[in-house]
């Protein structure tokens, strides 16, 4: 199968990856979250204002699967925060190009957060900019940037986007 941006099977496969990724987070199966990435990777959550000014500061910035796992270990055992659940909605997924076996994808996302008081709020809205590669036949994120419009984070961000 050729990885071409108009290939419908590839579109399906990319959508499956994006859906499985948010399902993993929303179902609180965070121990599996690092496995969506290649061993060496880039995961970053970047305020839109920095992105537009060309400034690199991110609230989360991980360049290995190990760093992603450490985030989850900290979330489970070290960090202190209110009980909370995320619900991601993704839309407008577009494969922008396929170059040298790297699939470039952009999509919109919204994350609703619900805490113990029962109120669901729009916690973080933005776009994912991804570079996806095939490892042993499976698609993985080589790079995933969540560039968020909601540049004022309410209270804290502990669960990845």
């Amino acid at each position: 199968m050729s990885d071409d941006k108009n290939n419908l099977m590839l579109k399906d496969e990319v959508n499956d990856l994006l859906n499985a990724y948010v399902q993993c987070i929303d179902d609180d199966e965070l121990e599996d979250w690092p496995s969506f990435f290649t061993d060496k990777c880039l995961y970053q959550v970047v305020p839109r204002e920095n992105h537009e000014m060309g400034l690199p500061t991110a609230v989360m910035w991980c360049d290995s699967q190990g760093m992603l796992s450490d985030r989850i270990t900290a979330l489970r055992h070290a960090n202190i925060y209110q009980v909370q659940w995320y619900r991601h909605i993704i839309s407008n997924t577009v494969i922008t190009s396929v170059v040298n076996d790297e699939i470039h994808v952009q999509s919109n996302y919204a994350v609703f957060k619900t805490c113990n008081d029962g109120e669901s709020t729009v916690f973080n809205v933005g776009r994912y900019v991804d570079v996806i590669v095939r490892v042993n036949g499976q698609l993985k994120f080589k790079e995933r940037s969540a560039i968020y419009d909601t540049h004022r984070i309410t209270t804290l961000m502990v669960i990845p986007i």
């Binding site: 500061t57 190990g66 900290a74 070290a78």
Partner: protein, 417 residues
Amino acid sequence: MTIKTPDHLKWPADADITAVPYSVFNNREVYDLEQQKIHNGPTWNYLGTEAELPENGSFKSTYIGDTPVVVTRGEDGLAYAWVNRCAHRGAEICRERHGKSDDGAFTCVYHQWAFDAKGDLRGVPFQRGLAGKGGMPKDFDKTKHNLRKVRVVSHHGVIFGTFSDDTPDIETYMGEDISRHFKRILKGPIEIIGHTRQFIAGNWKFYSENTKDPYHASLLHLFHPTFGIYRASLGGGSIVNNDVHSVLWVENNKEDESVLDDVKKDNTRTYQDGTYQLQDPSLLAGMKEFDDDTSTVIFSLFPSLVVHQIQNTLCFRQILPKSESEFELVWTFFGYADDSDELRSYRMKQLNLVGPAGLISMEDGESTELCQKAIVRDGQYSNYIRMGGTGTGTDDHFVTEGAIRSLWKGYRELMDV
């Protein structure tokens, strides 16, 4: 303009700096009085850095307390600031977070009154009317309709503003130790590497207390102990200048076994023998960049600024009160213009430690909200601030709340409560 503190806002007789009434955190009248007496009073407030105003005409929108303020660079290259409120009918003039005015003018969109970077009125459309009709009165004097100006000082590349003529010069305001630490961390030209913002449903002074509180550090923030990296035995302490400003500092190479033994006896989560290990320890890799062993400094210039060096992360944290129960925290991270690529890469990775998603510090937003939720109806009750005694001032250890008591001492004087 001196606002008198109403009698019903004075602290009750049994309150003092070790027993602060919770009404300071949940009362709108107290909040409004703070805006007058503290933020509009004799205090220097952080506005930004020279690095954020790279050219003449550059500007940045920010706040002093909850008053919207624009800081600009004028045609003479100097920094100016004014309240972002048109002198005509009160509209917001500058509607962008930052940018550059190419012609040096700042024009209100409502009736196009135009001001310069200094806040002086330059032009009023139809001032003389149209076809002999209308227009401003004949005695209209443009020089009497400038914007409300902020007195500004630029100190080692950082811009502060005050509304009061009584605010002393910046170094006197800071005090000796804050001045020294300020100079240390601003040792060369800086480069901004980005901003992050956090909105917290708590009173802004809970955060002021938090940044003066060495007692909580090893008890609330458990990232290091969880991964078997023990911290509380390091040397350090808290320093107080002019009551309301403080320095918390930690020094490497000061292990003390007797301290560690005491920590083990207390059976807190602070001591853990490393159940978990970092899979990628490069998170904590860094390099020494100062001529001393200080690995962490968090210093607070009341009321609006906290500056930190935590390993290789350097940051201005601006505290922006929004109401008695909300504030915004703006983190502006920086490095130096002459950073090596290696040092810059450490700074990037260590950004994970601090800020709104900071592995070692995210709990500070949480603790502030925990307090706010609990005190909402209990203004007549007081807290209990007696760790390390009842005194104020400097301590050479972490098991103290001396800097917090000092804050309340200075606060009572500023507020006349």
